[in-house]
């Protein structure tokens, strides 16, 4: 009977861990420049849309501004933060998805609840407002 039955297994584990340790988050100059170029474009468009008033419809402009912001956040995540489904064995992506769910619940829930609270408040006339403490 071998006196060190686990020794080879330990070496294997150590090797795989060393293999994983260095793969997270290394960019290339090309990657950074692509990310930077896309970010400049995605920042310039919403500023121009609002400052020049390109569209008459506020709703359309607002939708475009928020949509471009989401695209730019994804660009930053990929090219600057080097997110990919494989880094850290997928756990960073898991944490990100979990956080996005919580953020979505927080934002949508707060706006929804507070909107209804506002809508269900007793209507106030300007005179009542003036006499408020």
């Amino acid at each position: 009977m071998s006196s060190h039955p686990h020794a080879p297994a330990r070496e294997d584990a150590a090797n795989t861990h060393h293999g994983h340790g260095h793969e997270a988050g290394h960019g290339s100059l090309k990657g950074y420049m692509i990310g930077f170029g896309l970010s400049v474009i995605l920042t310039a468009i919403p500023f121009v849309l609002v400052m020049a008033g390109t569209f008459d419809s506020k709703l359309l402009t607002a939708f475009l501004v928020m949509a471009l912001a989401v695209v730019q956040i994804v660009v930053h995540m990929v090219y600057f933060l080097h997110m990919n489904p494989r880094s850290e064995g997928g756990w960073t992506m898991m944490a990100l998805i979990f956080t996005l769910v919580i953020v979505g619940i927080t934002l949508a829930g707060s706006l929804w609840v507070m909107h209804h609270l506002n809508a269900n408040m007793m209507p106030m006339s300007p005179e009542m407002m003036k006499n408020m403490p």
């Binding site: 006196s3 060190h4 039955p5 686990h6 330990r10 584990a13 150590a14 861990h17 060393h18 994983h20 340790g21 997270a24 988050g25 290394h26 960019g27 290339s28 100059l29 950074y32 420049m33 990310g35 930077f36 970010s39 400049v40 920042t43 919403p46 500023f47 609002v50 400052m51 506020k58 402009t61 607002a62 501004v65 928020m66 471009l68 912001a69 730019q72 956040i73 930053h76 995540m77 600057f80 933060l81 880094s87 850290e88 756990w91 960073t92 944490a95 990100l96 979990f98 956080t99 919580i102 953020v103 927080t106 934002l107 707060s110 706006l111 507070m114």
Partner: protein
């Protein structure tokens, strides 16, 4: 089980602790989890601003107050600092200490420029009587943008600390790990700023 057996055989017990083999493997994930918790702080502040952002209390509205060209310059400063930090990381990969320090310094200067412009904007608003106490809109605005500015401030403190560390000890494994963490922190702050300039400034001016 193996350990019990060895103790019975009268040998010194051997514990297979693999933790010390990969000190940096879990740091990235741990720091990422911190950033995600930080993301929740900002989510709550964004939600607060979303709820209170239209309550002007008969005071000034975003269209009266915000100077969009200034915000655009501010955004450019932070974006430039992001790309220069990327250059610092690339130089770190090449083991070039002097170049790494140079790009870190440039990053710090862009960060300081961002912070200076933001403080100028805050001072200008407060001078105009549009301080955080004026209306619910301004309270939530100052809290959200101020919290982001505070993060940038501590990012710059961290950056200077690491520049001292790198110049004293060189690009050793510990400093590489720290620079990697600060890289994530710095790019994360730029991601939050995308939300700030889109949701607070542009949507605010849009009305």
């Amino acid at each position: 089980m193996a350990n019990d057996m060895q103790v019975q055989e009268g040998e010194k017990p051997v514990f297979y602790l693999t933790e010390d083999h990969h000190p940096e493997g879990s740091t990235n994930l741990g720091f990422w989890l911190y950033l995600m918790s930080d993301c929740l702080i900002f989510a709550v502040l964004f939600a607060t601003h979303g709820v209170l952002g239209r309550n002007y209390a008969a005071g000034p509205s975003p269209a009266d107050l915000f100077d969009l060209p200034l915000v655009a310059i501010n955004t450019a400063m932070l974006l430039f600092s992001s790309i220069t930090y990327g250059f610092a990381m690339l130089q770190m990969e090449r083991n070039a200490k002097a170049e790494t320090l140079f790009w870190l310094a440039v990053t710090g200067l862009f960060g300081a420029a961002f912070l200076g412009l933001e403080l100028y904007e805050f001072a200008h608003l407060i001078h105009e009587g549009a301080g955080p106490g004026r209306s619910a809109f301004l309270s939530s605005f100052f809290t959200l943008v101020g919290t982001h500015g505070l993060h940038v401030t501590f990012g710059i403190v961290w950056l200077i600390t690491l520049m001292v560390q790198v110049s004293k000890h060189g690009l050793i494994a510990e400093n590489r790990r720290r620079l990697m963490c600060l890289s994530m922190f710095w790019h994360f702050l730029d991601v939050i700023w995308i939300g700030v300039f889109s949701f607070v400034y542009l949507m605010g001016v849009l009305g």
